[in-house]
C-alpha cells in the first residue's frame, strides 16, 4: 500500500517550546497518520501512578486527590533515558529505575490555603511539574494533607495522562485557484467576506490569495461565487502536521520518538513474518 517513500521533504512553518507545525511533502497519508497516532498513544512520558496517603483531612477524598495528581504533566525529556520502559515498570515498584518520588506536606493554619502543583517536592530534578500553578486541593482552617506520590513512564494508550500531546493533527495543503477572467473583483468580493480564515483579499481591485496555508478547505468561497471563478483543491501527498505538546516533552522530540517507535514496530512485524 505504501510503496517506497522517495523525495520526502519537511519544512518547519512554526516552532516554539510547546508546539510545532511543519509541511511534509511526498509522504503517503497512511504513514503520516501512523506517526500522528503514535504521538498520542505510544510516546512515553512521566506521570504519577500511585499515591501513598499519610494524612488527608482536606474536603477531597484520597481517590479524587490521586486522580488530580495523575493528570499533572511532569517533565520527561531526560526521564526517557533514565527510567525503565513502561511495559517492565508497570506494578514493579521494586525495580529501582522505575519510579520517581514526589512529596507534599501542607497545612492551613488559619484561613484557607490552596495547594498547587508547584508545592510538590521531587527527589529527581528531571521530573518536575511542568506548570507550577495547577491547584490540587483547597484546605480549610486546620486541615492537613501529606502524601508520597510515585511517577513512572507510561504510554497514552494505557491512560490519557501519559499522552504527551494535547493536539496532534494533519491537514491537506490547500490550493486555491482563482480564474481572474471570470472574477468580478472588488465589485463582488462575496468570497472575501465569507471566508472564516481571511485567506482572500482584494488588492488593487483584484482578488488575491494571501494566506493559502491557513485555508481550512471549507469551500464557502466556492459556494458564494456567482461565476464559479474559485476552485479550492489540495496538493496530493503533501500535508501540514501540527503537534502541540502538553509540556512534558519538546514537540520535535515527540515526533522523532513516534517515528522511531513506528520503525521498531515495522521491524518487529518483519521479524515475526520471517519466523
Amino acid at each position: 500500500m505504501l510503496g517506497e517513500v522517495t523525495g520526502l521533504k519537511i519544512k518547519i512553518l512554526e516552532y516554539d517550546d510547546r508546539s510545532i507545525r511543519f509541511l511534509v511533502e511526498n509522504i503517503p497519508l497512511a504513514l503520516l497518520n501512523a506517526i500522528r497516532r503514535l504521538t498520542i498513544s505510544d510516546v512515553p512520558s512521566m506521570a504519577i501512578d500511585y499515591v501513598y496517603f499519610i494524612e488527608n483531612s482536606s474536603p477531597l477524598y484520597d481517590e479524587i486527590v490521586a486522580h488530580r495528581l495523575g493528570l499533572i504533566p511532569l517533565t520527561s525529556d531526560r526521564a526517557l533515558e533514565k527510567y525503565g520502559p513502561p511495559e517492565e515498570c508497570r506494578d514493579n515498584e521494586e525495580r529501582p529505575d522505575c519510579y520517581a518520588r514526589l512529596y507534599l506536606e501542607a497545612e492551613a493554619s488559619d484561613g484557607t490555603k490552596v495547594v498547587y502543583s508547584g508545592d510538590l517536592v521531587s527527589d529527581d530534578e528531571d521530573v518536575q511539574p511542568v506548570y507550577k500553578n495547577i491547584p490540587i486541593v483547597v484546605l480549610g482552617p486546620g486541615q492537613k494533607i501529606s502524601f508520597e506520590a510515585r511517577a513512572r513512564l507510561g504510554r497514552g494508550r494505557e491512560h490519557a495522562k501519559w499522552s504527551p500531546v494535547s493536539a496532534a493533527t494533519h491537514k491537506y495543503v490547500p490550493q486555491i485557484i482563482v480564474n481572474s477572467e471570470k472574477c468580478y473583483g472588488e465589485s463582488c468580493a462575496k468570497c472575501v467576506n465569507v471566508c472564516p480564515k481571511n485567506v482572500l483579499k482584494i488588492k488593487d481591485g483584484r482578488l488575491v490569495v494571501e494566506d493559502e496555508l491557513s485555508c481550512s478547505l471549507c469551500r464557502q468561497c466556492e459556494k458564494v461565487c456567482p461565476t464559479d471563478a474559485i476552485l479550492v483543491s489540495w496538493k496530493p501527498n503533501s500535508y501540514i502536521m501540527y503537534v502541540e505538546s502538553t509540556g512534558v516533552l519538546r514537540p520535535e522530540r515527540i515526533v522523532l520518538e513516534a517515528s522511531r517507535i513506528l520503525e521498531e514496530k515495522a521491524e518487529q512485524l518483519l521479524s515475526e513474518l520471517e519466523k
Partner: protein, 53 residues
C-alpha cells in the same frame, strides 16, 4: 496505636475516644465527655495506597 482500633472524635469538644469508652461512658451515641451527639470517625493512622487513575 494498633491498626483496627477505630477512634472517634467529638464534633464540639474535640476529644478523641474509642468504641469501648463510647459504650461504657455513654450507652448511646454521644460524646462521653460533653454529651454532644455529632461524632466523627478519625482517619486510621495507616498509609493508604491509591492508584492515580
Amino acid at each position: 496505636m494498633s491498626a483496627g482500633r477505630v477512634l472517634y472524635k467529638c464534633g464540639r469538644c474535640g476529644r478523641v475516644f474509642d468504641l469501648f469508652q463510647l459504650q461504657v461512658l455513654a450507652p448511646r451515641i454521644r460524646c462521653p465527655y460533653c454529651g454532644y451527639r455529632v461524632i466523627y470517625k478519625v482517619r486510621s493512622p495507616v498509609v493508604k495506597k491509591v492508584k492515580a487513575i
